[in-house]
């Protein structure tokens, strides 16, 4: 399939990053060739085959619903953010 410039802007939107006009053209070429390559899978017959999403052999691994000791405390974690106010993370206005 052909990837158009508007597809790049749509995918950038889904990906939550802004893309400049110059970037979009580069990405279009790259994504076009990647999609062409992965489309080779069309040649593989998968009729009647069940999908596999993970290879871990166990299911439903539970733990007791108890709070375990945490290595990182609130202060450590708040130190990682750029702006903090009154023990909360500060961001620009939402709307």
């Amino acid at each position: 399939m052909e990837i158009k410039r508007e597809d790049i802007f749509h995918l950038a939107d889904l990906s939550n990053f802004s893309v400049s006009e110059a970037q979009a053209e580069l990405l279009r070429g790259d994504l076009q060739s990647i999609i062409k390559y992965i489309s080779e899978l069309d040649n593989l017959n998968t009729d009647g085959v069940e999908p596999t999403y993970q290879v871990f052999e166990m299911e439903n691994v539970w733990r007791n619903d108890e709070i375990k000791e945490q290595e990182a405390n609130r202060e450590d974690l708040l130190k990682l953010t750029k702006e903090e106010f009154d023990n909360q993370i500060k961001v620009p206005k939402v709307l």
């Binding site: 995918l11 939550n16 990647i34 999609i35 390559y37 992965i38 999403y53 290595e71 130190k79």
Partner: protein, 458 residues
């Protein structure tokens, strides 16, 4: 590996490693060195040895972790701009187990940003040079870890392998690299790339070292619910008789020197009494396409957490919350990160999900079946790790598909969850290392290492 004792002190081992790190500075192996901390820990171990106290199995052994392993207080950035200034608030389980055995961490090694790449050229900190040829790539994504061991800076390093990121750089630098069975070593505290494929492993100079590290690092971890029960230590080494080689891979796609190395190894195995079995594995050629659908899909999900709010880089060009997200992600991700996130969103998006993601998940089933059938005919499979030895810096970095093709023979193991051990297999005429991998069924890791010992000690 050399451990510290009363005559060879931990301080001396660690100082040697730090001196070598300085000597090989041009190779750009490390993104962070903790000289002071490492020497302090070494001195503590020496004091305990002097007092006659019991020390761990890795007493005073210097090592380094790939820059996607969290080590409390260290700047684990996954070599990505978007995690700049991040100081890890906790330590990865795998690293903690090594520290508990008194190994000494000297620093973090360079890698492709978020482990996206096969050459360590996608790092925010620049490229790492190959240990045997400074004009060539180290391989990737764990390039720094491979070069650190190949140049003998440290005894061992950690790595992560989502599609070949341990085995390929190991083979590009002539050392051992293990991608264990999925779930063998805890992923807790390692920056997630593609969760159903990510495996934690090591780079070493010998299979003996690999065995020791796996004994220490493997096992169930309550902090990673996908870890397997402690099978590694308990499992027995099974006798090996039949070695499979895959017919389809013996073709023009593979560099002639690597094909020869495989042939020579097979001749050697025959002379040792092993039987060589030819395998038909026609689905494996689709593994790369399936991988470059499944992996970006999981990457998209795992990388959605980087938004500049809670940690890491935050763009200054923001007017509101939406622009904080999009500007931070635009400025913070490397081009290859963006390509993978966008491809992931493409294969998962409505209208394309069935044709791409679901199709790839079905192909994954067929690949698993193909491995299961193969292991009915042989004990282990011997294949190349990559189609070519180390390529030139800059040769493939602007052509994503040609870079992806370097992963042709490594990705199917991650899709199937089976272990693979990269072993050195000589050098080509230009002096570049060649590598092969031994592939086994799930949970055969211990036997794989034992077999590697057997075929190396010629």
């Amino acid at each position: 590996m050399k451990t510290a004792n009363r005559t060879i002190t931990a301080t001396r081992l660690v100082q040697d490693a730090l001196d070598k790190a300085e000597h090989f500075k041009d190779y750009n192996i490390f993104t962070y060195l903790d000289k002071e901390g490492a020497l302090k820990r070494a001195a503590e171990i020496d004091e305990r040895i002097a007092r006659g106290e019991k020390v761990g199995r890795l007493a005073g052994v210097p090592f380094a972790a790939k820059n996607n392993f969290l080590v409390k207080g260290c700047p684990t950035t996954a070599s990505a701009h978007i995690l700049e200034e991040y100081a890890a608030p906790l330590t990865a389980t795998s690293v903690q187990k090594l520290l508990d055995e008194d190994a000494v961490l000297i620093g973090l090694t360079n890698c492709d940003a978020f482990a996206h790449g096969s050459s360590t050229e996608n790092s925010y900190f620049g490229v790492t040079l190959n240990s045997h040829d400074r004009e060539r790539v180290a391989g990737g994504s764990s390039g720094g870890s491979a070069v650190a061991v190949a140049l003998d800076v440290v005894e061992f390093t950690t790595g992560s392998d989502t599609g070949g990121s341990i085995r390929q750089p190991a083979s590009f630098n002539g050392i051992y690299g293990l991608k264990p069975t999925y779930g063998t070593v805890s992923r807790y505290g390692v920056v997630a790339m593609a969760s159903s494929l990510d495996c934690i492993g090591f780079f070493t100079k010998t299979p003996e070292d690999m065995e020791l590290l796996m004994e220490i690092a493997a096992g169930r971890d309550d902090k990673d619910m996908t870890t397997l029960p402690d099978y590694f230590v308990e499992s027995e080494v099974k006798p090996v008789k039949k070695i499979g080689v895959i017919k389809d891979f013996d073709n023009d796609v593979i560099n002639a020197d690597i094909r020869n190395a495989l042939k020579e190894k097979c001749e050697f195995l025959k002379s040792k009494g092993y039987e060589i079995v030819e395998l038909d594995m026609p689905t494996l050629k689709y593994a790369l396409a399936a991988y470059y659908i499944i992996q970006p899909a999981e990457v998209t999900s795992n990388l959605s957490r980087y938004d500049g709010v809670r940690y890491g880089f935050r763009s200054k060009e923001t007017t509101d919350l939406a622009s904080l997200y999009s500007k931070t992600r635009d400025e913070g991700f490397m081009p290859e990160n963006k390509r993978r996130i966008m491809i992931g969103n493409f294969v998962l998006s409505s209208g394309f999900y069935d044709a791409y993601f679901l199709k790839a998940a079905k192909a994954r089933t067929l690949i698993i079946n193909e491995y299961e059938n193969a292991f009915k005919q042989c004990d282990f499979i011997l294949t190349p790790v990559s189609p070519n030895p180390a390529f030139k810096i800059g040769e493939k970095v602007d052509d994503p598909v040609s870079m992806y093709l370097e992963d042709l023979m490594s990705v199917s193991l991650n899709l199937a969850g089976v272990p693979g051990l990269a072993i050195p297999a000589g050098q080509n005429a230009a002096g570049l290392p060649l590598g092969l991998q031994i592939v086994g069924p799930r949970r055969s890791d211990k036997s794989l290492i034992a077999f590697a010992k057997e075929i190396v000690n010629e």
